[in-house]
């Protein structure tokens, strides 16, 4: 309360050269901190209580018997819950009718959110599964966007050709960057990728002959539909459905990757690199695979972004974007597909619909992140990966798909 005093209460009026004392604000700050302290206390006790529940499942050292199954396995995957199918059906129906109920402005926002879902899922491979902190993810996004914009500008390449080309170019950049950089661990990797992100942005900003500098590239065509001319509204709806399809494709691929030999290696690599190597896993190759796959999705996201906005400039690819996508992954729950989807909607849609509070956006964002990390560091949805089980009756099951 005292700390807020100079800012909240005292206001110097330079014109009349008097100091205004705003005592009412002082009272408000007092009441506010009083209430907040209660909330804080409640959250702390809640966390403590949960910690104790988790501790119960620790094996009894004396008898060597594990009393309760570990929480990760005991927790029933959301996919198995009875609510899952109806919820999925409702979501699908909602997604299907959305553009016909709401205005194209709303559809546009939703498409943006879906792009972020895709980017989040892509980064999730790198950060969530393989545990490589990549702070320059936006660089690959930029590569995708600029490859479409430039290829279209110079050679008239269409959206559908540019989509795989953009993805491939991003992958190429990832390989070039990955080979030297993936030897680094943790913090060092984060710093180098951060640097890479800035380098790409600075190149785009300053190499005028190549990228048209800060003025960007405009008149990028929207994706075509067998050469049918679409009105702007129709194009928006079309792009929306395209994005839905691509998101479903992404979810499908990420899910399958996670539940595969490679996904297992990623998770193991995240847990213990030395042991992984000793078990015959090629560390560099496995990391590079994750890095490149992440970049491919960023590239595709970039192409779609360029097609959606029809105009790109380097300002769209600042570090803020990387941080945003990373926040989506962390807030949603690292490694969890459902979590990342929820995280993307939350972080992209909330600011859009709460424009009234836009002045406080960063404040709220920061507070949310701090609170999340303190009280639920595993994110909104805890990652529940497929647990391999062995069916007792002889046949090894390639276990039930989670």
């Amino acid at each position: 309360m005292l700390l807020t005093f100079p800012i909240v209460v005292i206001r110097v009026n330079p014109i009349e050269k008097v100091i205004e004392w705003r005592w009412r604000n002082m009272a408000l700050a007092g009441v506010g901190s009083f209430i907040l302290s209660f909330v804080w206390r409640a959250l702390l006790t809640w966390k403590e209580r949960r910690g104790r529940v988790g501790a119960c499942s620790v094996p009894d050292a004396d008898t060597g018997v594990t009393h309760a199954a570990s929480p990760a396995i005991a927790a029933r995957p959301f996919e198995e819950s009875r609510l899952y199918r109806p919820a999925l059906g409702a979501a699908a129906l909602f997604a299907l009718v959305f553009p016909f109920i709401f205005s194209s402005y709303q559809t546009n926002i939703m498409t943006t959110a879906l792009i972020y879902v895709m980017l989040g899922l892509g980064l999730n491979i790198v950060v969530g599964l393989a545990g490589l902190l990549n702070l320059g993810y936006v660089a690959f996004y930029a590569v995708g966007a600029y490859s479409y914009a430039l290829l279209n500008h110079h050679f008239g390449l269409g959206f559908w050709t540019a989509l795989p080309v953009g993805a491939l170019l991003s992958a190429l950049f990832a390989i070039l960057l990955g080979f030297p950089v993936l030897r680094l661990r943790g913090d060092y990797l984060a710093i180098v990728t951060l640097g890479f992100g800035e380098i790409i942005r600075l190149i785009l900003e300053n190499w005028n002959d190549f990228s048209f500098g800060p003025s960007g590239i405009s008149n990028i065509p929207r994706p075509g539909l067998f050469g049918i001319a679409l009105s702007i509204h129709e194009a928006t709806v079309y792009l929306y459905f395209l994005m839905i399809a691509l998101c479903l494709f992404t979810i499908f691929v990420v899910k399958r990757l996670r539940d595969s030999r490679i996904g297992r290696a990623w998770i193991a690599l995240r847990e213990d690199e030395v042991a992984c190597e000793a078990m015959g896993i090629d560390k560099t190759l496995t990391k590079l695979t994750a890095f490149v796959l992440g970049a491919i999705w960023a590239g595709m996201g970039g192409v779609i972004f360029a097609a959606k906005t029809t105009f790109i400039n380097p300002a769209s690819f600042t570090f803020m974007e990387s941080a945003m996508i990373l926040s989506i992954v962390v807030l949603g729950g690292m490694g969890s597909i459902l979590g990342v989807i929820l995280g993307a909607f939350l972080l992209i849609l909330t600011p859009e619909y709460l424009r009234a509070f836009s002045a406080y956006r960063m404040l709220l964002f920061g507070t949310t992140m701090v609170l999340m990390m303190l009280f639920r560091p595993q994110g909104i949805v805890t990652n529940i990966r497929r647990v391999y089980r062995f069916a007792a009756k002889g046949k090894g099951d390639a276990p039930a798909q989670a």
Binding site: T66, S70, I73, I262, E271, Y388, A398
Partner: protein, 262 residues
């Protein structure tokens, strides 16, 4: 007896410190060799050199798979060495704590499987078949090591002795012909040590896997090993059978730190 692992004049310097000094060692096919020595003698450094974690500063290491060609492995990457058929466990248990027992062993199968990104996404017949085989084989190994009852447990929730066994199971999953055990009996109670002893003998007997182990527990060292090599200050000071080592004055001096004749 043909040697599966041979080191000649293996030397390792860390800056000015010579951790290993011209160590010659040979492990024969189906042999159990124990590597002993006081703390800081360079035993674990020796392991790290032969598995490729450290690149030795001098000498040769060669690995001879049964029925295969002998190859030098100094400077070869860790995962390649494992692929060639030498697997290890760690002094401080290094399991994947948040993965299940079965999954831990499945990681060991990684280098014997091939499925790539495309296989994972398309999940074609071959990939599905391979995955099934990984699960199968891993389970078979767990069954043999008496961990079948805990396949779905998280590795970190296992009791200590079982974690040690799981590390051996994971190493066996890579289909080695030479198994390196770094203090497998550390922290075990006498009953667990007995079980471990039986296990090591069984691994050698059933699968003709050679074993090289570092161990401080003299009881297990004396009873299972065919040959014992003693290191002190990075040098090999003695080599021989259990009976020979027990009587060797140099070894006794190294352990007790004084001249017994004084």
């Amino acid at each position: 007896m043909e040697g599966v692992l041979t080191t000649e004049k293996l030397t390792m310097d860390f800056g000015g410190l010579r951790a290993l000094n011209a160590v010659d060692l040979r492990v024969g096919r189906g042999e159990i060799v124990a590597l002993i020595g006081p703390n800081g003698a360079g035993k674990t450094t020796f392991f790290n050199c032969i598995t490729g974690i450290h690149r030795p500063t001098g000498g040769h290491i060669s690995l001879a798979p049964p029925g295969g060609i002998t190859r030098r492995i100094d400077g070869v990457k860790v995962h390649k060495v494992t692929e060639m058929g030498m697997a290890r466990t760690f002094q401080n248990i290094r399991l994947f704590p948040d993965m299940t027992v079965l999954e831990n062993v499945m990681i060991g199968r990684h280098c014997r499987a091939k499925a790539g990104v495309l296989g994972a996404v398309l999940r074609d017949k071959r990939t599905r078949h391979e995955e099934q085989e990984i699960v199968h084989r891993s389970h078979a190994i767990l069954l043999r090591l008496g961990l079948a009852g805990q396949v779905d447990e998280l590795a970190k929730n296992l009791p200590y002795g079982a974690q040690r066994r799981l590390e051996i199971a994971r190493a066996l999953a890579t289909e080695p012909f030479l198994l390196l055990l770094d203090e497998p009996a550390a922290g075990m109670n006498p009953r667990e040590t007995d079980e471990l002893e039986a296990l090591i003998v069984r691994i050698r007997g059933e699968e003709k896997i050679s074993v090289l182990m570092i161990e401080h527990d003299m009881r297990i060292v004396m009873s299972v090993s065919d040959r014992i090599v003693v290191l002190d200050h990075g040098e090999k000071i003695a080599e021989g059978t259990a009976a020979q080592i027990r009587e060797d004055p140099v070894v006794i001096k190294a352990y007790l730190g004084e001249d017994i004749h004084a």
